[in-house]
């Protein structure tokens, strides 16, 4: 096989992965409006309780995020050492994010003990279980598909949601800093992600695996929004 052919194949795999992930993300994000809590937000019908409920439910999942990324990093073999260092850096960057959620909750009128002690909702249970399951496998490259959905949601929706929430509920900046942070920074994470995808999507099988993980996680992420407070 010639060198140019190899480069051409690599580009084709990367583009196929990007296309597949884009399709999953578009389907996920465009149908979120069907989820009651999102629908009410977009229609301007939120109560103060809705935001506090979202924060409590997100916190129990976010606290797990850097933990399953770390576990995934530990299962990446030397072949994927560049990916491993990216995973580790990402885990470090986000492992205290749940504190932001707690601060936001208190700033939005909630009690700290309340957000710290609530169990995961049944959707978050499924979501977290799947992420740990994937992260525990050898060379869990499918994690990238999952991370694309989660970071993509932050990049494209979090900023808009923060603004909507703030205006509807008349909240100070310090009450929406988690969503605002992800709205501002997840585009950098997506850029980093694109590089990671080039490293990982090097065959049709790997590409399919990454896209499939995106599909599963999109469904499970939605499930946790559908099951708010259903513990």
């Amino acid at each position: 096989m010639s060198a140019s052919r190899t480069i051409g194949d690599a580009k084709a795999h990367h583009q196929a992965a990007w296309r597949g992930l884009s399709r999953e993300r578009i389907e996920f994000e465009s149908t979120l409006v069907q989820v009651p809590i999102v629908k009410r937000l977009l229609e301007g019908n939120w109560r103060a309780h809705d935001y506090r409920s979202l924060l409590v439910n997100l916190r129990q999942q976010v606290i797990e995020g850097s933990r399953w990324i770390s576990r995934a990093a530990s299962n990446l073999s030397p072949e994927h050492e560049d990916l491993r260092s990216m995973f580790v850096r990402h885990a470090v960057a986000e492992h205290r994010d749940f504190r932001l959620l707690e601060d936001n909750y208190v700033a939005a009128g909630g009690r700290l003990e309340e957000i710290q002690n609530r169990p995961k909702n049944i959707g978050s249970e499924a979501f977290s279980a799947f992420m740990y399951h994937t992260a525990s496998k050898p060379d869990p490259l499918g994690m990238l598909g999952a991370m694309f959905i989660i970071e993509g949601l932050g990049e494209r929706m979090a900023g808009e949601w923060a603004a909507l929430i703030q205006s509807q509920l008349d909240l100070p900046d310090k009450a929406v800093s988690f969503l605002a942070y992800h709205g501002e920074n997840d585009s950098e994470h997506i850029a980093m992600f694109e590089h990671a995808l080039k490293l990982a999507a090097t065959s049709a099988e790997r590409t399919e695996d990454i896209v499939r993980h995106a599909r599963v996680v999109a469904r499970l992420y939605r499930l946790q929004l559908e099951e708010l407070d259903n513990v």
């Binding site: 583009q15 990007w18 296309r19 884009s22 399709r23 578009i26 994000e29 409006v33 069907q34 301007g44």
Partner: protein, 378 residues
């Protein structure tokens, strides 16, 4: 059974109207509204269009009449006896009347014998609904030959009299963006096709390989509307639910509206449908020789190009064929106008692949069709 497009034609009323003469026809709501219109024109890139109204707002035409004239020009270049046509499907955004449907009036205006008809009312994608209905009729051997037309007469809704005195006009004489946008976007005309169960013996035919049409109304609210007024809670109130037609008119219910932000939110979903067809093997971007996409603005084309390039499914820009900038955005007529101009361009040769793409913002629809060029029946 295989189905072939064997003739095409168009009717564009009057002389082309350049940007600087638009207000001679659609009038001026306020100087400020005109300034905003210039911005819309810079975005959509349209340089000229046709209007079926005269400078004083009067007209000798109807949308059905334009459709019939376009189909007359289709039959003028067909190998087929018009009496053998068994089916007519018509497409438009707003018919002349609310009742009955346009297909009846087109049939009447054409003077053809009794036939089966279908009336498609949506926005741009109604053209593809009509095309698919006709293609299936011929494919199922229900009819040997079918006519398809798309026609629009939007300018008549854009005269100042449809806005002044309604709640839509602000104290400073401006219109909200959603009411203003389409005045500078849409124009008039009609075009049509003849479908048959065999190719032409001489000249160009287009074999219809497949047609897809998908609605995404499960996730989008209406984005382009007419006949309803938005309420404070965001819901749309149909004109007929007002206490009187006059009250509905005052609330702006009869104005055509376009939520421009929603348009840009729909774009990824339309492109997602395109990517689905790439991934399932229906579309091979590199084997498309002519890409006929009814995009409504140059700015939307740029965004589509950016997304498709990144996803490795961009059809090279030199293969895109459009007449948007010279003939305007004619809604349901546009894709047939594009196809007619492509067929007459002298650039087609046997074996080439044509891809049609028609997004509709109404409540989000995306339609595609794959065609193969044939010459002299081969």
């Amino acid at each position: 059974m295989e189905v072939f497009i064997n003739a095409s034609g168009q009717f564009l009323p009057g002389e082309p109207v350049p940007n600087e003469q638009m207000t001679d026809y659609i009038g001026t709501i306020s100087p400020d509204a005109d300034r905003r219109g210039k911005q819309t024109l810079r975005n959509n890139g349209i340089r000229q269009r046709h209007y079926a109204i005269n400078a004083d707002g009067s007209t000798d035409l109807t949308v059905a009449e334009m459709a019939a004239r376009a189909l007359g020009s289709v039959l003028d270049c067909a190998e087929t006896d018009p009496r053998s046509i068994g089916f007519l499907a018509s497409a438009t955004t707003q018919n002349d009347f609310m009742v009955p449907g346009m297909a009846s009036q087109v049939h009447a205006a054409m003077g053809l014998p009794p036939m089966e008809i279908a009336n498609m009312q949506s926005v741009c994608a109604s053209s593809m609904m009509a095309l698919k209905a006709a293609a299936l009729q011929v494919a199922q051997a229900e009819h040997d030959a079918a006519l398809v037309c798309g026609a629009e007469f939007s300018s008549r809704y854009f005269r100042p009299g449809h806005y002044l005195g309604t709640d839509a006009v602000a104290a400073d004489g401006t219109l909200p963006g959603d009411a203003d946008f389409l005045r500078w976007t849409l124009s008039d005309g009609a075009a049509g096709l003849l479908l048959e169960n065999r190719p032409r013996e001489r000249g160009l035919s287009l074999k219809i390989d497949w047609i897809t049409l998908t609605s995404f109304a499960d996730r989008f609210a209406p984005c382009m509307t007419g006949g309803a007024a938005q309420q404070d809670d965001g819901s749309l109130k149909p004109w007929s639910h007002f206490t009187s037609a006059e009250a509905a008119a005052r609330a702006g219910a009869f104005q055509l509206r376009q939520d421009i932000d929603a348009l840009y939110r729909m774009l990824p979903v339309w492109l997602g449908e395109f990517m689905r067809l790439v991934d399932t093997g229906r579309i091979d971007p590199l084997s498309v020789d002519w890409f006929c996409c009814h995009y409504s603005a140059r700015s939307l084309r740029k965004e589509m190009t950016r997304l498709a390039t990144r996803a490795g499914c961009m059809i090279p820009e030199e293969r895109w064929f459009t007449n948007l900038y010279e003939k305007g955005n004619v809604g349901a007529a546009s894709i047939f106008l594009i196809l007619d101009d492509l067929l007459r361009s002298g650039n087609l040769s046997a074996g080439q692949k044509i891809l049609l793409a028609v997004p509709e913002s109404g409540q989000s629809i995306m339609a595609h069709a794959g065609l193969t060029v044939m010459e002299n029946g081969e």
